[in-house]
Symmetry: C2
Subunit: 180 residues, 2 copies
């Protein structure tokens, strides 16, 4: 069973975290939500507080998951400022694992030097910061980096990740079950 | 500014609650999430625990909101079994307020006698229980009852509610902002 790690910071975009979490867990994938903050209660940009499963500090430093998910929202500034996030991203990339980032979160991959020469997408609000290979598709996959545009594409983002981690058939089954 | 009340029971479907909550708050609508349970921590069907804003018992009995939202998921059995939910639904209906139900939650409206002679939709898993005027559209509006099919139509559900409570323009603005 594939294992996926979500990184949650204060100000995360609720739908961008919860849509992929919901679809991945429905597909039988083991999801661990890790909070950057000192406690497991994390409040999103729309004011909803959720419980993470654990703290980022409690995730063993050299543990690699099959995929790492970075939701967007104003909380991306905390992801970018945190050296633990950078090292987690780089370790997963070096280990050939999936990295999935949506909305403003692809800027974390930019900071880590993972976007050069790569096709990707992101929210238009961060387009000026990003190099020119920014696509306008709802989801872009290049190598094992999967990017998407915003809360309105969060389901596409989640389905694409389910498909890569399991199969097209499994993703279709979840889609049918939820009337997507 | 319109005010909306969400009713959250253990086992609620995360996306069906959080997609409309996110869109409504982005549209500037005041959303109150009330838990049925004795505490404000409520765990959804995918294992995510969220904080409600208040308890249903703390919402003054005769307070009417502009809309009442009932998410689906296995938690619907708790909505159906709770006389406070039934009386809240009936009070909002009698007061000409919107009632929005998704997935299995339209069965709560069935129990309250609000579906007879009305067009609506719901999740196919509860179709056998429902009278024959079940539509297959992603969202059905009949009078002030707005229904939808499941987690995969939760964004459509949220946008339809934003549009009814504000305007098509406002709904379009939110849609643009999140790359829907």
């Amino acid at each position: 069973m594939p294992k996926v790690l979500f990184l949650l910071a204060e100000g995360f975009e609720e739908l961008e975290a919860i849509a992929p979490l919901d679809l991945l867990r429905r597909a039988g994938i083991e999801v661990t939500v890790a909070a950057l903050s000192p406690g497991i209660h994390v409040t999103g940009r729309c004011g909803l507080t959720v419980h993470a499963d654990t703290l980022l500090d409690a995730v063993a430093e050299h543990t690699l998951f099959d995929a790492l998910v970075l939701p967007g929202g104003p909380g991306v500034k905390h992801l970018r400022a945190d050296p633990r996030v950078r090292s987690t991203v780089l370790a997963h990339h070096a280990g050939g694992r999936w990295i999935a980032a949506i909305c403003a979160a692809p800027t974390v991959l930019l900071d880590a030097g993972l976007l050069s020469g790569r096709r990707y997408t992101a929210h238009p609000s961060v387009a000026l910061e990003l190099p020119e290979r920014l696509g306008e598709e709802r989801v872009v996959i290049d190598g094992r980096i999967l990017t998407s545009r915003g809360a309105g594409t969060a389901l596409d983002f989640g389905f694409a990740l389910v498909e890569q981690l399991t199969s097209t058939g499994q993703s279709h089954e979840v889609s049918q079950a939820i009337c997507a």
